[in-house]
C-alpha cells in the first residue's frame, strides 16, 4: 500500500514537491509561532502549579504581573489570616540595561524556598548574601557576555555584582535577573509594594472560601486559583488566542494547499479508481490509498516544518540584539506531535472528499471518464 501511494506521489513529482514545500513552510511557521506562545503558556503553568501554591493575589486592575502593585500594609493585613500557611511576595519589573536589552527583574523574598519550584540550579557562584549582589540567568549572561563577578548596572547608581549564574525550567527566568526582594523594590523604584502574592493554605479545601474572602474584603485585589492565573491577564490571554488562531490558520492553509493538489488530479484519480475497482479493489481500499498518499505528504511536511523551525529560531535569536525572553533555543518536542496530529487531520480532510468523489462512479463509467 505504501509503495503504491509513494508511486502515486511520483505521478507528477513537481506538483508533489511544491505541495510538500508549501506544507513544510506552513508547518515551520506554525512551530515557530507556537514555540513563542506555548513555551510561555507551559512555563506559566509550571510556575504556578508546583509545590502547593493555591491562590495568587494581584491588584485588581492590573493588565500583566508587571503592572500589578500591592501595598505593603495590605500584605501585612493578609498575613494575619490564619488559614494561610505561607505567603510569598514577588516583585516583577523590566529594566533596560547597557542600552541594549530590556531585562525582567524578579525580586524574591526567600529564594532558597522557591528555588526548587522554578527548577533553578546554580551553574556557577552562590546565592546572594551581600548587598548589591544579583543572580543572572544563563541566557542573559550568554547574550550580554557576562561572567561571574562582573558588574551589571541596573539603573542610576545601582551597580550590582553578579554573584551567581543559574539555569532553570523557565525561558523567561533564564533571560532575567534575580534579586532579593528589598533590592528589587529599590531598583524598580517601588519601595513599599510587591507585584504578586503566592499563597499556600493549611487546608486545600478552604481555597475557594479564602479567595472569596479576599475578593470581598480587599476591593483593590483579586485572588485567583493559581492554575487560572493566565486567564486573568488580557495580554496573556491574547497570546493564547493568538496561538489558537495560528493553529486554525495553519490547518486552513495546509488544507487549501492539499485540497487543491488533490482536486487538480481529479481526472487521473477517477480513472485510477475505475481501474483499481475493475481489478477488484474495494472502495474502502481505494479511498485508503488516496488518504495514505495525502498523509505521506502532510506528515513529510510536518516533520520537515519542525526541522526547519530549528535554524529559523536560531536565525531569529541572532538577529535580535535584545535578550528575547519568549524565544526558546529549540522547538519543544510536543510541537512535533501537534504538527503530526494536524497533518493527519489535514490528510483526512483534504483527501477524503476527492477520494470519495473519484470512487463515486460505476466502474465502466469511471473508465470512460473524460472531464
Amino acid at each position: 500500500m505504501f509503495r503504491y501511494a509513494f508511486r502515486n506521489l511520483l505521478r507528477s513529482p513537481l506538483r508533489s514537491l511544491f505541495t510538500l514545500v508549501s506544507i513544510i513552510t506552513i508547518m515551520a511557521l506554525y512551530v515557530l509561532l507556537q514555540s513563542v506562545t506555548s513555551t510561555f503558556e507551559q512555563e506559566l503553568e509550571r510556575l504556578f502549579s508546583h509545590d502547593g501554591v493555591e491562590i495568587i493575589v494581584q491588584s485588581r486592575y492590573a493588565a500583566t504581573p508587571v503592572t500589578s502593585s500591592i501595598k505593603a500594609e495590605i500584605v501585612d493585613r493578609l498575613r494575619s489570616d490564619e488559614r494561610i500557611a505561607a505567603l510569598e511576595p514577588l516583585i516583577v519589573g523590566r529594566k533596560r540595561v547597557a542600552n541594549r536589552a530590556s531585562l525582567f527583574i524578579f525580586g524574591i523574598d526567600d529564594l532558597a524556598r522557591v528555588q526548587s519550584r522554578l527548577g533553578m540550579h546554580l551553574r556557577d557562584g552562590h546565592l546572594f548574601h551581600q548587598p548589591n549582589e544579583e543572580l543572572v540567568g544563563e541566557k542573559t549572561a550568554q547574550k550580554l557576555g557576562l561572567k561571574l563577578g562582573d558588574m551589571l548596572t541596573l539603573g542610576e547608581g545601582e551597580h550590582m555584582r553578579i554573584a551567581g549564574l543559574f539555569g532553570s525550567w523557565l525561558q523567561f527566568l533564564d533571560a532575567a535577573v534575580v534579586l532579593p526582594l528589598a533590592e528589587a523594590q529599590r531598583v524598580l523604584g517601588k519601595s513599599a509594594e510587591v507585584s504578586l502574592l503566592l499563597l499556600r493554605l493549611h487546608q486545600n479545601e478552604e481555597a475557594s472560601e479564602v479567595m472569596e474572602a479576599i475578593n470581598r474584603d480587599f476591593p483593590e485585589l483579586t485572588a485567583v486559583d493559581a492554575l487560572s492565573l493566565p486567564d486573568q491577564f488580557g495580554a496573556i490571554k491574547t497570546l493564547y488566542r493568538f496561538g489558537e488562531i495560528v493553529a486554525i490558520l495553519t490547518l486552513i492553509m495546509s488544507f487549501a494547499v492539499m485540497f487543491n493538489t488533490f482536486l487538480l488530479s481529479g481526472l487521473e484519480r477517477t480513472r485510477e479508481a475505475g481501474i483499481l475497482s475493475a481489478i477488484g479493489w474495494s472502495r474502502g481500499r481505494i479511498v485508503m490509498l488516496m488518504v495514505l498518499e495525502a498523509a505521506m505528504l502532510c506528515i513529510g511536511g510536518a516533520v520537515g516544518g519542525f526541522l526547519l523551525a530549528f535554524p529559523l529560531l536560531m536565525l531569529l535569536e541572532q538577529s535580535f540584539g535584545e535578550v528575547y525572553m519568549y524565544l526558546p533555543d529549540a522547538p519543544s518536542l510536543f510541537l512535533l506531535w501537534h504538527a503530526l496530529g494536524m497533518a493527519v487531520v489535514i490528510a483526512l480532510l483534504s483527501a477524503l472528499y476527492p477520494a470519495l468523489y473519484a470512487t463515486r462512479l460505476a466502474v465502466a463509467e469511471a473508465l470512460r471518464y473524460e472531464s
Binding site: R3, Y4, R7, N8, L10, R11, E272, G274, I275, L276, S277, A278, I279, G280, W281, S282, R283, R285, A362, V363, A364, E365, L367
Partner: protein, 234 residues
C-alpha cells in the same frame, strides 16, 4: 449441452442518457464453461456494454445475470467477486501508468496470498507474456503492445474461470494481435477457462467455438462455428 451454464443472462436491458439511448435490449444468453465465444457486430451495437454487465462493471436496468446459477443481485462484495471470478481485458490496457508492471500485477492479486507468492506469480505470468525483463519498468514507459500483454497477464493473475476481453487486439499491430490471441487461447485451454471476446476481426471469430452476432443492442445470431464454416463452404 444440458450442463448448468457458467453465465446466464435473462431479459437484460441497458439504457443510457436517462433512457434515451438504448444500448441493450432483450438479451438472453447462456455461456458454458471451457468454451471460446466471439462477440461480433458493427460499432455501437452494444458489445462493450454487454461485456461490462457480465463483468459486473456496470448494472443492468432490467433483467438478471447469473454466474454459476448465482444471481448478481445476491453478490454484496462486487470488487471481491470481480477479483476472484473474472479477468477483464480492456481495449485500452488500463494499467496504472505510474506503477511498474510488477506492481500492477501484484495489486490485482488476492490480498490473502503472501507477498512471496504474489511476486512469484506476477513474474511467472509476466514471463509467460514475454515481459519478464520489463517487470520493473513503469507501465507508461513501455510500448502499446507490451502494455496490452501486461494487461492480459494482469487479467490472468487470479486464475479466473471467465476471461472477458473487449477488442484486445484493437490497438496493436497484427504480429502483436496474433501473439495476444495465442496467449488468451493457450491460457483458456490450460486452465479450463471460458473466453468471451468482443472483436471486429473475423479471423478471430473464425477461431472461436461460438460466434455471437449483435445488431442494434440485440443478439441476432448465435452460431457454433463448425456449423458456420460448413454453411459457408456450401
Amino acid at each position: 449441452m444440458n450442463r448448468e451454464p457458467l453465465i446466464c443472462l435473462h431479459n437484460v436491458a441497458k439504457r443510457f442518457d436517462r433512457g434515451e439511448t438504448v444500448a441493450l435490449e432483450q438479451i438472453n444468453l447462456r455461456l458454458h464453461s471451457e468454451r471460446f465465444y466471439a462477440l461480433c457486430g458493427p460499432s455501437g451495437c452494444g458489445k462493450s456494454t454487454l461485456l461490462h454487465l457480465i463483468g459486473l462493471l456496470e448494472w443492468p436496468d432490467e433483467g438478471e445475470i447469473f454466474y454459476e446459477g448465482r444471481s448478481y443481485r445476491t453478490i454484496t462484495e462486487h470488487a471481491r467477486f470481480r477479483r476472484e471470478s473474472i479477468g477483464f481485458v480492456f481495449q485500452f490496457h488500463h494499467l496504472i501508468p505510474v506503477w511498474t508492471l510488477k506492481e500492477n500485477m501484484v495489486a490485482a492479486m488476492l490480498p490473502e496470498c503472501s507477498g512471496d507468492n504474489r511476486e512469484h506469480r506476477a513474474l511467472e505470468l509476466l514471463d509467460r507474456v514475454g515481459l519478464a525483463h520489463r517487470a520493473k519498468a513503469l507501465a507508461r514507459d513501455i510500448s502499446g503492445g507490451e502494455r496490452q500483454r501486461g494487461a492480459i497477464a494482469r487479467a490472468l493473475v487470479n486464475r479466473p474461470k471467465l476471461i472477458i476481453a473487449d477488442e484486445p487486439t484493437g490497438n496493436v499491430d497484427s504480429v502483436n494481435a496474433m501473439r495476444i490471441m495465442k496467449l488468451l487461447q493457450g491460457y483458456a485451454l490450460e486452465e479450463k477457462a471460458t473466453l468471451l471476446i468482443a472483436t471486429h476481426d473475423e479471423g478471430i471469430a473464425l477461431s472461436a467455438d461460438v460466434r455471437i452476432g449483435m445488431q442494434d443492442g440485440r443478439i441476432e445470431s448465435f452460431k457454433e462455428m463448425h456449423d458456420y464454416c460448413s454453411s459457408k463452404d456450401q
